[in-house]
């Protein structure tokens, strides 16, 4: 059966999988935790550390509770998909590979105006930053393109290139629809709305109105404590998962509007400390082995 990425959301994803698989990537599955961006996936964050080559592509569902609109906004969702590609070290032809992937899913760069517009990326939470662009297609931002320079407060040695495609946006563009819920999901007429509209309504309501804030505060404290517990036991990956958990709980508390402006900075600092602490522990655990295998490398 032939694929048609211009008529089917899932075919677009499968086309990207084929493309990046053919270009040497592991095709991973989504991380099974709630997170605000694909960058949180350990395949990005933790694997960006250290000297070992790493090429992976995966879809990551992202949750941004404050972006929920009860299914009433044609563009904004509290749950959506990102397509992440991470290539370490960044290959010299990364831009060309990326542009080729756009052609694969049906964007003709001689008909559409593709532009690389400066947009540096920074995540204080992860102690990370990089330089790159947002990629525009006819004025619409379709991808974030970043060369990681630091992660968890450590220099990236070597630098990884990260691509984050906004899948719904790209699909809306390619399919020519103005409302995300009108996307053809499977090319056979099942709409994105049929799959996700009710989910958006209920989750928006829960995020904004229902979630028990006392329980969320409690869970935040527990995640923070568990992160430290895991660090003490030298299992940094487990610690990092708790940092992801704490980060999402913080986002939920934000959506519930129970964190004041003053408290906000303090919560963010806590999450940052958990994430950085986990990265540091991960580095500490791995670095002797890396240094042995890669003599030119040093932490």
């Amino acid at each position: 059966m032939s694929r048609d990425p211009s008529k089917s959301f899932q075919d677009m994803i499968l086309t990207l999988h084929d493309f990046w698989s053919a270009n040497g990537c592991l095709i991973l599955q989504p991380y099974d935790m709630r997170m605000g961006a694909g960058t949180f996936h350990t395949a990005t964050t933790l694997r960006a550390l250290g000297p070992e080559p790493w090429n992976a592509a995966f879809v990551q569902p992202c949750r941004r509770p404050t972006d929920g609109r009860y299914g009433e906004n044609p563009n904004r969702l509290q749950h959506y998909y990102q397509y992440q590609v991470i290539l370490k070290p960044s290959p010299p032809d990364l831009q060309e590979l990326y542009l080729q992937s756009l052609v694969e899913i049906g964007i003709d760069p001689l008909k559409h105006d593709i532009r690389f517009v400066e947009d540096d990326w920074e995540s204080p939470t992860l102690g990370a930053w990089g330089l790159g662009w947002e990629v525009w297609c006819d004025g619409m931002e379709v991808t974030q393109f970043t060369y990681f320079q630091q992660m968890g407060g450590f220099d990236c040695k070597p630098v990884a290139g990260e691509l984050t495609y906004g899948l719904e946006r790209l699909a809306m563009y390619i399919q020519g629809v103005d409302n995300v819920y009108d996307l053809n999901f499977d090319g056979r007429g099942t709409s994105y709305g049929q799959v996700f509209l009710e989910n958006e309504r209920q989750m928006s309501k829960w995020n904004f109105e229902v979630a028990d804030t006392d329980a969320l505060f409690d869970l935040f404290r527990k995640a923070a404590a568990e992160c430290k517990n895991a660090l003490a036991a030298d299992v940094p990956i487990a610690a990092y998962e708790q940092a992801i958990e704490a980060s999402h709980l913080f986002n939920l508390l934000q959506a519930r509007g129970v964190i004041s402006v003053q408290e906000r900075a303090s919560y963010m600092a806590q999450v940052r400390d958990l994430a950085r602490g986990s990265c540091e522990a991960y580095m500490a655990k791995e670095q002797a082995g890396w240094a042995e295998k890669y003599p030119e490398w040093s932490a």
Partner: protein
Amino acid sequence: MSAADFLLELRCEEIPARMQAGARADLERLFRAEMGAAGVAVGEVTVWSTPRRLALIARGLPEATEAVSEDAKGPPEGAPDAAIDGFCKKNGVTRDQLELRDVKGRNTWFAVIDKPGRATRDLLTEAIPAIVRAFPWPKSMRWGAASLSTQSIRWVRPLSGIVAILGDSLVECEIGGVASGYATRGHRFHCPGEVTIGGASDYAEKLRACHVIVDHAERQDLIRERAAKAASEAGLSLVEDEGLVIENAGLTEWPVPLLGRFDEAYLDVPPEVIQLTARTNQKYFVCNSADGKLANAFVCTANIEAADGGAAIVDGNRKVLAARLSDARFFWEQDRKTSLADHAKKLERITFHEKLGTVADKVDRVSKLARWLVEEGIVKGADADQAEQAARLAKADLVTEMVGEFPELQGLMGGYYARAEGLPAAVADAIRDHYKPVGQGDKVPTAPVTVVVSLADKLDTISTFFFVGEFPTGSKDPFALRRAAISLIRLIVSNGVRLNLPLAILSPILHLSIQVIGRHYEGTIVSLKGAFETLGIDASEGELSDDYLTEVTNEDWIRAAVFEPSSRSAGQVLDFIADRLKVQQREAGVRHDLIDAVFALGGEDDLVRLLARVHALQEFMGTEDGANLLAGYKRAANILKKENHTLVTPAEAGVHQASGADREMDSRLRGNGENGTIPRTGDEDPMADVDDPQMRAVYAARSQEKSALSYTPETDEKALIEALDAAGPRAAAAVEAEDFAAAMAALATLRAPIDRFFDSVTVNDPDPPKRTARLDLLARFRDAVHRVADFSRIEG
């Protein structure tokens, strides 16, 4: 020697548009520096940039540097062998190559070092990597496999190619794994393959054939013309925007401006919002219709000559803009569902500054100050209720959706919302413009209600930040207090606002204290008037209205916790404003010494009056009378200083009462020293105290007494006495009436008498009474001049 043109192209992934102009300048500078150091004469240099390349063409480089021969002087004949061997080693010669020469009668060893000329091509081979490594990008990065080490090369984005050709031959070099060659690449999509360049002469044209206009200025011209043409073809006129022209030229190698339309229904949204959305988010130009109103059209700049003529591109961009405008319209509609007064309630939840409370607290202080400024008649022509209302609503738009999305629209949106809910035009305008003047070129508001709110807002900001110790230091000014002070000065000066600054500065500070204390001790009351009295500030000059004055707590505690620090920081604020005023006046071309001469008088808390005096003095010093009077003044001052002659000291007079807070406050605008006191350098004028109001009576009595002479004065002595008798009161009266030109004119009448006095009268007479009387006369002369300005500060 023959000359050749040199071409350098550094190709990389997309360079941020905003960095390209700086990069061009840096490339030329570094190239000239490297070549200069190598001894290569560089003439004309052209630099170009596109998003994907920096290019430099240097015309007529010599093919080699000239050979030079240098003599190095060594040790004298007969020096120890070790010394001579060391000299040989240092200069890379052998002993038998040394020559003996006579230096002042002594035989000395010399080495002649021949430095052969070097091929420019070889020098370039070394210079190019040096330029790349030294390139000062605002932000740079590492990339690729080489970045395993942090020592790897850094560039703004990954460096992908180097073309370096001198004449028609390759300059071989290599940086971070990228080797130079003849090949570059054309347009990313139109001509993705390699293009072989012959040299500087065919570079631009070969690239043009590959859909790259390498000259940024040409791309800018093209965008300017074609965007305007696209608009005019649609019967519209382009809203010119040079920043967008440059930015779009920095984002494209083959710019193609295209006009698109958006749904007319969006024109309900204020035009500034549409323009801002189009500009900042999408980098589009907007257009006006024939009637001068914003049209439902945009011009985007594509980077390709699209197969379909750009139809798909325009359609895509239209959709993106529509989504943005739909958001903007949603905000516009949502925001208007709530009145500004209700929006303003939410300000209670926003921290203005950790120590300064919420934005609502600030609004409360500003509102009270605004009402006071009107009720005291300080700003004329404003309605007190309107001023207070405008101040209460001025910050309400900060919590609207629109300003949340576009912070640049603060003020402007508040003005729109105020008008939409039917508030008076003066209130709406004041809300809109109360941040003004923002920059140097920004117009200063003149509408009375706007002036009041803007003044009150800035006074509050500056005073309260100083009070909590957040003042600018060195290059750090996180709360932009310097800018606020300049805006405050401009508001006061251009509107001629007569304001007792110490009082106006103190009022937000005290009000802040009341808010803070009030929060802790609710229900206890103290009067602000008492506070002013405690501080020794004469609040009767501007009678304070009662509701502004009532409130808060226990006197002793307040005094220790609030009033003393308030007084201290009010002093700091005055010094700060005085400093800014000096800087501002200097920039406006006023001589700094004249500013100092007036500031040094002290006792001035009114900027308008102070500047009127400075400007009159500047005018006067430009006249012959002014210059001559200054010469006379300096002569008199020197004699008095030499003779150490004083009329009477304040201590002797016994009138110098405890230095009250008001005296300390008054001295602030002297702009000297930390505590507002004049530093005792020994050069200061003992007569400086004549302007002290508390000393006036003493000097008057002293002058009277001195007017009865024990001898018959000489003609020119008598003439000077008479001139002083006439000019002194005239100058004083003119100063009192704030007619500083007349005060200067009165001084001018002293010029001829003082000149003649010095010509014919001997001050240092052997007869002690005569000598004392004449010194006193000179002191009186100086006193009279000092009533107008401290001439000792004037240069010349």
